[in-house]
Symmetry: C2
């Protein structure tokens, strides 16, 4: 299938405003001196040439490639250099600055230089006068990872943008599109990509066998040229399913040997491999619990097998009882990860990393931050977020997620007894809090083989923003949005303001017309799109709202399930008390009567009605604002996004009416404003 270039669809910009300056940008950028060698440097040169030619309309001459002669050439130009001198530069960071008629791009790694080139391209697109630049940027996170939930049959679990571009009918695909994709990822700083679903089915179990290793090697090479490591998800029970062993017990000598041999063979063929990701003992996947072993036993066994090759073992913490009885009010799924992993803190190998979902449930539109982040102090961890909007509109409804991720990153966990010492999630996963190296973020991607990669063209901002946020969490959500709009749509001020406005309000709008105050779920079973208030209420997944004629919400205080106690103080007390609990999370932590008066002065039930009416009105407005952009942005994007707004409108109306009707039937409370509730 054909595909667009996403945010790398550079176009020529006007540079008149530089005419009065001493140095012509065109002239400056036409001469490139490269004082380094390497495969990624070659990539950086090619990317520089592409950007300069397409954005500035010039032809680039590359001087003295790889040599380090005369330090100050006479003509103005651009210089790539690898340096270990710059004290402000960390691994993969870069500096861009102008000195003595030369624009320097400096880094201490090849990847750093490549990132500098993509940054320069963004500045070019923004029309910045390059000699004014002096920026030093270091990536905040060491691991900036993308998780694909692609299956080898070509389907994508929770994929809303077509099928996989990695796999089809059991085969690994090799096409131009892989290269185009890797460029996109490198341009936003991604350095690790897991190509297959964490649910490793039968066929995918064979990815670690000779059947596929040569193909993986090709991927690893394409990825490596852009500074990206290939990762794969493996089946914890592979020693049974593809080995000849009767067990997958991680303490069995045979199992240990089998994995050692298997990993050695994999690295013989694919030495670039970054490592494995494992979902074990979760939603039906096999794991160490089967053998009475701990999660650490399982993770460490695999970690040790990977260690000789520098490989990482990433172990997901999404472990909970998915066979819960809805009648059981003591078991609380929200508590599961903490309960399973907290006591194992400090018992994991250095190359083992726990991958923790942002919230204690599962990627809802509003959840508190997982208390496990503030609980683990001697364990490497990764923050997992979902770029694919499984519960946040599925790339039909626009829902810009960067503001949510920023909230999560800035959440103070109070992990230190000295409460003045910062231990935000960002501090933890960037290694600042506990000095970890093996940490960072993982994003479950929203890509597929649709022409525009992400179903809704506007959903690309989540993918773009995810990468930018991993690299530069200091950027505001709005800065990221504006950067993406410039790169993708237009820098026209009406476009910029309209789209920024739509994006910045989109999460709040989505939240308004869907589930109220952090209660979550209420979605159609299986598909997870559209409303079904009781859809999971009597099911086995631990996802209950417990609404009755008097009120709703789950009591997770100390008098309830006790979940609040998993937080460090003062968070524990804050959540435990209905008066101090942030209102947007009220129903997550508390059981609340419909007639409870909220801080707004409205009753809970009136809040539910009002937000649902408002949400629909806001979608109407968004749709209208978008319609006004005709002829200001590419026609195909205008049309596709317009179609998505129609879908969103339908979805919002359905949510409004079903939620309002459900709670009207339950509560009997009339809408104060007398609006139509069915």
């Amino acid at each position: 299938m054909s595909y667009g270039k996403g945010w790398l669809a550079y176009h020529k910009i006007k540079t008149e405003k530089n005419d009065s300056r001493q140095i012509s940008i065109q002239k400056l950028c036409s001469f490139l001196t490269v004082r380094a060698k390497g495969k990624i440097i070659d990539t950086a040169v090619e990317e520089y040439r592409t950007a300069a030619e397409q954005i500035l309309g010039i032809t680039v001459t590359v001087n003295e490639r790889g040599s380090s002669v005369s330090k100050q050439p006479a003509v103005p130009g651009v210089i790539f250099e690898l340096t270990e001198k710059a004290p402000d530069l960390k691994k993969d960071g870069f500096r861009i600055f102008f000195a003595e008629n030369q624009l320097f791009l400096s880094a201490n790694t090849e990847s750093g230089l490549l990132y500098a080139v993509f940054e320069l391209a963004r500045r070019m697109m923004d029309g910045i006068y390059l000699p004014d630049l002096d920026i030093t940027t270091n990536p905040a996170m060491n691991l900036r990872m993308i998780n694909h939930w692609d299956n080898m049959d070509g389907s994508i679990e929770r994929g809303y943008s077509g099928n996989s571009f990695f796999f089809k009918e059991g085969q690994i695909l090799h096409s131009d599109r892989i290269h185009a994709y890797v460029r996109l990822m490198a341009s936003i700083g991604i350095n690790a990509i897991v190509i297959n679903n964490v649910n490793v089915h039968e066929r995918e179990s064979y990815l670690i066998t000779d059947k596929y290793l040569d193909s993986l090697k090709k991927y690893a090479d394409v990825f490596a040229a852009y500074g990206i490591q290939l990762y794969i998800c493996v089946n914890f029970a592979a020693s049974i399913d593809i080995g000849s062993l009767p067990t997958a017990d991680p303490l069995s000598g045979d199992v240990i040997s089998w994995w050692q041999d298997t990993v050695r063979h994999i690295y013989d063929i694919v030495p670039e491999l970054g490592g494995f990701v494992v979902k074990a003992d979760s939603e039906g996947r096999p794991g160490p619990f089967t053998y009475g072993r701990t999660q650490a036993d399982g993770a460490n066994m695999l970690g040790r097998a990977l260690k000789p090759y520098g490989g990482l073992l990433i172990w997901r913490c999404f472990v909970y009882n998915c066979g819960q009885d809805w009648r059981d009010r003591k078991t609380d799924r929200a508590k599961a990860s903490y309960d399973y992993f907290k006591d194992l803190d400090g018992s994991f190998e250095e190359n083992v990393i726990l991958q923790i979902k942002n919230g204690p449930m599962d990627f809802q539109i509003r959840e508190p931050v997982s208390p496990l982040f503030g609980g683990l102090k001697n364990t490497n961890s990764i923050l997992e977020v979902q770029i694919a909007g499984e519960y946040t509109g599925q790339q039909k409804d626009v829902c810009y997620l960067v503001p949510m991720w920023k909230e999560i990153l800035e959440f103070e966990t109070y992990a230190f007894s000295d409460k003045d010492k910062s231990s935000t999630v960002r501090d933890i996963v960037s290694g600042n809090a506990f000095r970890n190296i093996n940490c960072g973020m993982a994003g479950v991607t929203n890509t597929g083989n649709d022409y525009n990669w992400t179903g809704n063209d506007l959903a690309a901002v989540n993918l773009y923003g995810y990468g930018r946020l991993c690299f530069c969490p200091d950027m505001t959500a709005e800065q990221i949005a504006r950067e993406w709009i410039t790169m993708t749509l237009s820098s026209d001020s009406q476009v910029m303001n309209t789209v920024t406005n739509i994006l910045m309000h989109s999460r709040s709008t989505y939240e308004k017309y869907t589930v109220p105050l952090g209660i979550g779920w209420m979605v159609t079973p299986h598909s997870h799109y559209g409303p079904d208030v009781d859809g999971y209420e009597y099911d086995k997944w631990g996802t209950y709202h417990r609404a009755d004629r008097n009120g709703l919400g789950v009591d997770r205080t100390k008098k309830g399930t006790g979940f609040t106690a998993q937080y460090n103080e003062p968070n524990a007390s804050m959540y435990n008390n209905m008066d101090t609990c942030p209102e947007e999370l009220l129903l997550f932590f508390h059981r609340v009567r419909y007639d409870k008066v909220l801080k707004t002065g409205k009753t809970l039930i009136q809040h539910i009605y009002d937000t649902h009416f408002e949400g629909v009105e806001e979608v109407k407005n968004m749709r209208k604002e978008w319609a006004a952009l005709e002829n200001k942005i590419p026609e195909d994007v205008f049309r596709r996004v317009g179609e998505r707004f129609e879908m969103q409108m339908q979805n919002a109306v359905e949510w409004r009416d079903r939620i309002n009707t459900y709670f009207y039937r339950m509560s009997g409370a009339k809408d104060e404003k007398g609006r139509k509730i069915y």
Copy 2:
């Protein structure tokens, strides 16, 4: 796959009690004189031989096959004769009687003789002294039809007994099992079998082409030897989908010609074909509405094409808006069939038959009878029931349906202005009311390629009972059950009493733990097994309960949707008035408050609680009663049914708890008996 013999698993019985009589049964039955010729007569002789040999343990000598010599042979024996003299015999009826040392089986059709043989076998199994017999039986219905919802990929829509034994991977299967199945069907009087699903998908559309006609001819021959006509479901849009026409407009000359040519060709190859069944304009199937034509236009066009060959066209009345908006309280799915078909009364060809589901909705555990039966007076109709328990336990839960079908057959429609003239549904579909010939019953079967044919061994009684009821609606449900138990399990009195007891209570039990008082649905979407109170409440299917904190039920009175007015008086008034409406249908016709006091003196909510607790207790008792039959019935049946009772137990508990919890949350009413409601 292997298969059992069902109720034709004859076994040798003891005949000691006949020893004192003058004529030995063994001796009498050893000599058979056949005074008729024909393929079905040959079948009858073989079936007689099989029955006599297996039940009585004798070897049968067949005398003078086909000749009609000496009318009174000297030795005692059995005589088959075709006669037109007996005034009490109607088409396919038979008489069995003893005269002058001879046991006569007389009929005026070959099929009648075959049915007499199977009747004789039942009497043998029951240990009856045959010379005491003098019975005349005429089938009450002319069409005694089985509908298979088998797809050519081998799946069965709403099949709970394995896959199809007719189709696999697009091919028509020919195996011994087809013959075994046809025997079973003939033994209970079935004379028409539709082999494919009424939802005719792409592949099945080609059944009427040369690709499959030779295979159909083989089926037709196997069926014909047992007096059964083969029917197929066709795609109304076949002129487009497999023809070369741009339309399926039933008034288009091209379409009419296409069907005439197609039908002629089919009958050239398969002259035995009974005709077509069509589901049109229903749940996404194409139909005459597409072209602005009536249902009669569509049906008559096909009927005329079939007429020259004696074929029948059976047109389903399951036409309703399946894209309803749950917000819309005016549209009432219950009204649809009547609204679409009532005014067409008298406009159908003589060989066109309307197939009407028993209730106005869709095979729920409790529905009123479709008012269309009392509305059509000049139209052939068939009563459609579902043997497969889509909404009645899916052959996991035991649910004997004959009592329900008897209620439906005995329902007085008051179709005549002379209210003393009987116009029960039975009168209508047996032709007594309006002198129709082309009428009868159709049962959506519950068979598949499971060893025991019907998933639950006890579910076979529904298939057996369906056939027996079509033939002999005078039989009570208990008589039918006892007959089946004798044929299948044992005539031991404990077995007889226990199983009869289980079967006779099973529908009431199922109703108790599932949906209350005729409201219907509340099932898991798609699968239709297990509870989900709101599962279809906000969906497009027109299946709503409208429960809120005060009450539930749909007002279908004249003040509500007006459905009650579709009945003739005095039914219309009876249903319209909450006080005279039969209580088991209360919520189907009325919206009722939880605190309404029912005739039992209980409130509605207490009735809901009580019946749900009772239902579970009754399942427990059934399970216990069944367990006491160990060693009294075949071990494999004992084990399989025992497993089904475990499933039923789980299902009943889940229904009890979810229904009770849902209505407790809604109503806030405490259980008077203080039992656990979650």
